[in-house]
């Protein structure tokens, strides 16, 4: 008989091999190479307690603060590590001066307000325009991306305008047990903030913070503050249409990294990849070594500045109008933002300009999409002739996506049947449409239209009908 394994051995076999990568302690400098230790054995058999030794929690936090350039906030409910960093106007974010970003934002304050109106938060009614100085940019670094009660925001980064520069304050939890203290310190500082700016905060950062607050059963300080998630305008302005041949996946993405490269020519050096961030914090929680976190804090600060940059550029575009757009896609995006805001005239101008640019640079998708949106606006405004002209222009665009061509044919068929009453032209359009790949609903509609047109046509003198049939593409 074989010896029965001990409980610990059986547990080891059951848990086996699911270790998580650990960050090598030498990975301190943001430029240093990052080594991950093989998963097994990831932790020495001795307990974490021994690893920490008799080091007191306070002294450990102090040491981390020294390494990260911060201070320890000793509070009744625990410890919080606070790291301040001020960016003067002459410092650079990529190729941009920080001062220019701040300046642009101040000049385009109305634009920021418009964007917030275009994407109002759920259940939040903004009654007054908050002053720009009450702005708070928020970005979290978390122990995971999936959310849920076991995901903590170990680092909360906040940025505010500070004269012509930017002030960043980061709240770092020095260990799992200090989350409440971290949230309390954050709440205090948030006291005079009047509105929020994030990148993807609507679905990620803010719900997660709210979850952390309700987990710790503390009031959530930003619950009712007006909030702009800059991801939404960013998508309109800077995401190219996806899955088009020739477009790299990277260009179609709308990540902050892609946008900051485009808007500020920023290429991060030694940036810590997002997937590695949780592991660095876990390692810090275990052994107290803060060096690997330095790069995480830097990453977070850059994200905050880039979020400001995105908001500044987007607000500028809204204030200055189509003339300020430097690419057709930006112009198209701006039109869509105006559309959301109900500024039809502005939207039309943007779409017309984007369509013209699409023709100029030979971008069929851009031209077709701009014309489609233009046509729909015109029709909604009752200018059916103008709309028909736009649809015609779309159909005449070489290389326009099939989906848009279908829309155009359908719209034109309706126009010809009901407005100009050119039944033959309508019939030709329907037949063209039917020759195309059509899905269920559209095919049924097209077949119905054809039948109706045929009924109407047979009511006319046969001679005329036959004469016309000769031209039909049978």
């Amino acid at each position: 008989m074989v010896m029965k394994p001990s409980l610990a051995d059986r547990l080891r076999a059951v848990v086996g091999g699911s270790g998580v990568p650990r960050v090598h302690p030498d990975a301190a400098s943001p430029l240093g190479t990052l080594a991950t230790v093989p998963p097994s054995p990831v932790v020495s058999a001795a307990g974490d307690a021994q690893e920490v030794g008799h080091d007191s929690r306070r002294a450990r936090a102090e040491r981390a603060a020294a390494i990260l350039g911060g201070v320890v906030d000793v509070r009744a409910d625990g410890l919080c590590l606070i790291v301040d960093r001020t960016y003067a106007a002459d410092e650079r974010h990529g190729q941009r001066r920080v001062g220019d970003i701040v300046d642009a934002l101040r000049q385009a304050e109305d634009g920021l307000e418009s964007l917030r109106r275009a994407w109002p938060g759920v259940g939040r009614v903004v009654t007054s325009t908050p002053a720009l100085d009450g702005l708070c940019v928020v970005d979290l670094e978390t122990t995971g991306l999936a959310g849920g009660a076991g995901t903590q925001a170990f680092l909360v980064g906040c940025a505010r305008l500070d004269g012509d520069g930017v002030h960043v304050r980061q709240f770092l939890s020095p260990g799992f047990e200090y989350e409440r203290a971290q949230l309390a310190a954050l709440t205090e500082w948030m006291g005079d903030r009047t509105h929020l700016l994030t990148f993807n905060g609507r679905t990620f950062d803010l719900p997660l913070l709210e979850m952390r607050c309700s987990f710790n059963r503390v009031a959530c300080p930003w619950r009712d503050l007006p909030h702009l998630d800059a991801l939404h305008p960013a998508r309109r302005f800077w995401r190219e249409q996806p899955a088009l041949p020739g477009v790299e996946a990277e260009d179609a993405s709308c990540s902050l990294g892609t946008i900051e490269r485009r808007l500020a020519g920023l290429h991060r050096v030694g940036d810590v990849p997002g997937f590695e961030i949780p592991a660095r914090f876990f390692q810090f929680a275990r052994d107290g070594r803060a060096e690997p976190l330095a790069a995480v804090l830097e990453h977070n600060r850059l994200d905050l500045l880039s979020t400001l940059l995105v908001a500044a550029r987007a607000s500028m575009l809204v204030v200055r109008g189509p003339a300020a757009a430097d690419r057709g896609h930006e112009c198209l995006g701006l039109g869509r933002v105006y559309e959301r805001l109900g500024e039809t005239a502005g939207a039309e101008a943007c779409f017309a300009r984007a369509a013209a640019e699409g023709l100029g640079v030979g971008d069929a998708w851009l031209r077709a999409e701009a014309l489609r949106r233009l046509a729909m606006l015109q029709r909604r405004g009752g200018r059916t002739e103008a709309a028909a002209t736009s649809w015609q222009a779309l159909l005449a665009t070489r290389g326009a996506p099939a989906r848009l061509r279908r829309d155009a044919r359908e719209a034109l068929a309706i126009h010809q049947e009901h407005r100009t009453r050119n039944l033959d032209a309508a019939r030709t359009l329907v037949l063209d449409a039917l020759a195309d790949q059509l899905d269920g609903r559209r095919r049924i509609d097209a077949e119905r239209r054809l039948a109706r047109l045929d009924r109407k046509l047979t009511a006319r003198p046969p001679g005329a009908l036959m004469a016309r049939f000769d031209d039909e593409p049978f």
Partner: protein
Amino acid sequence: MSANPRPSLSASTSLVERKDKALHGALEHLAPGPWLEREDTPEGVITAVRRMAPVEARFAPMPDGLDPRLRTALEQRGLKQLYSHQAEAYARVANGEHIVVTTPTASGKTLCYNLPVLDAILKDPAARALYLFPTKALAQDQMAELHELTALITAAGGDEIGVHTYDGDTPADARKTIRARAHIALTNPDMLHAGVLPHHPRWAKLFENLKYVVIDELHAYRGVFGSHLCNVLRRLQRIAKHYGSSPQFICSSATIANPRELAERLAEQPFSLISESGAPRGEKFFVFVNPPVVNRELGIRRSYLAEARRVAGEFLRRQLQVIVFAQSRLSTEILTTYLKEDFETVPGMAEQIRGYRGGYLPLRRREIEKGLRDGVVRGVVSTNALELGIDIGALDVSVMAGYPGTIAATWQRAGRAGRRSARSAAVMVASSAPVDQFVVKHPNYFFAASPEHALVNPDNLHILVDHVKCAAFELPFTATDTFGIVDVQAVLDILRENGLVHRSGDPETPEDGQWHWTSESYPADAISLRSISSDNFVVIDITAGSKVIGETDFNSGPSTLHPKAIYLVEGRLFQVETLDFEGRKAYVRQVDCDYYTDAISYSKVTVLDVAAGGDGAVATHGDVHVSSRVVGFKKIKFYTNENVGSGELDLPEQQMHTTAYWLGVPRPVMQALPYSKDEKRDGVVGLGFAMKHVATLLLMCDGRDVGLAFGQGDDAQGETGPVGGRTSVPESLGDEPRIYLYDAFPGGVGFSAPLFAMHGELLARTHDLIAGCECDHGCPTCVGPIGETGPRAKTVALRVLHALSPASIAAADGRSTFADSATAQLSASAEGSGAPDPDVPF
């Protein structure tokens, strides 16, 4: 709620009369007696006919304390009084007890929990309740019923009561509203595990005010699923405690032997049992059919599927609505094909005969359920997927192709036919499987015995560790927390070694320390409650393009989706072209052939630890290591079941640590047998074959839940042995052979200890099975097919049994009830109107 006593049935009397007549016609045609028309009837094709007399209702007044608005709402539904068990449930819940209600299908079980829950919410609008159903479909059903009632309550001046399902189908944008507004959230254990508990801060309102947890179909939670559920409930109660609530449990269960024990095991709270139903029921006939023997020497009976097809046909032809339960996905598909052939519809018309099983896509399943309720579908062939309370209306007849494996499941399936007043019938057609033959020939075992025990093993380390991970993610463990009987601090320490948790706190005061989750993963995502490993295989049809047509759990993947296997979906045949084991995908192509495939697997058992027995004892149980592998397959022709070919396979080995019961035949017993070495081996193999089947009967489990292997002496490298019926036998077993019956789930779900405790009964029943079989030298019904076990297998197996346990065998021989009861019952009740059997747990 559907249990309201209706004042009159006059409106539908003619329909009832027509159906009664049709039912009688069909039964008469099946049963022997003066209507003998079938040439194959004489030797006891019908082994039992029982009539369950209609039962009158027992009522109790509405409880005094009931909220007047609820009372008004109930009155508007025609409910002025309660059935006695409903009143008892209300009283006990009001008294603060956790309760488990076991009353039959259609006895108004749901009101047992809806009544106290709605009453509590009306009295305190902050109160919350969580309902758990084993499937999404059941939750949908129940929501519809609750909505009807809450609408009446609102009309009676009550506040709006929010009732919402919350499951994988709930749209993301509706979830927030539901979390805020649901007084009653209806969900399933899987969603609770992966979608609610890990997000408990979002559900703070629910957990702060959680008054009731309702668990419907409690009996469904046994084995692996039950072991998981227990851990989910541990997590639930841990979180509730964190928010300052301690909910009361209200459970309902089909009839099993240990409902209270199961409830107490699952919720780890003391329970009161309510088992006396006050509901009325209609007259019902229960018939056992044993297909006739066609080759006595080989013990071959007519195919039970063909017999089930004939039986179902008798009812379908008479315009009765029939549900046919088959044993496996495969036989479901085969029977669907048969019945579709018999009752072909005009092309273009809705199909009258449908198949139904897990692995079909949800939309198709919903469509079939609706078809059954509307009567468009006249016959459905299903696996146990329709055994639970999905609303398919009241059908007229339930035909079981093969014994469902447990007494509880048989009653549950029989309950799918017939409601309160109408007459209905259930027919069980036995297959030639040993268990079936045992039951069909010993009807009293079924009709008089108490149903089986539901077993769980929540402290199975594989399962436990998974849930400790989830629990640590949800709330940090303290240094003094417990979680079941295994030392959770030890579990956490191993998780720490793997970097999954971190122990925080000052090392000088370790008792203040807490265990925090330190992995970016979301542990619940990787853990399925339905299996020990969450893996599964997807089946992709590449006949034209590529389309997912089904899925199969990891354990049965190799045996059903091996290369060249035939895979069936609603009677269509597909052949597996490639099995991507690593990618967990099987690519299939539609084929037209006249056979299906059956896999052969081998397994090897190594003893790790003896829990009881050992040291030369005949019976032992303990921990074992099992490695098993699918090594080949046979091609079996449809209709005739001829073996028309075979193939070899080379698939990866699956290994596990589990528990086993084993029988060691002592050397003197083996040596005293006057047979050759090969004959002795055949006898032991045959004995194992029969024991395995009796074990599944006693354990209330599926044949696949128990593995069979053979070994020799204390040799840890024991011989390889066959699993399942279709295979060759080990070369040699030596003088001290062992028969291992192991728990087929990694870590075990609690079968071995009970089996060890039932050792005597196991041997006696095995003796009954083998000795009672009509075959001459062994057949698939007792010791295995003669071609595979040799001509002396039956004799040797019986000799071994006599030598091992003369006392219990003698006792079994003395039990006269079994041998004669079938015929006695038959003559007493062949008229279809015999006296009701007082022992029937109907």
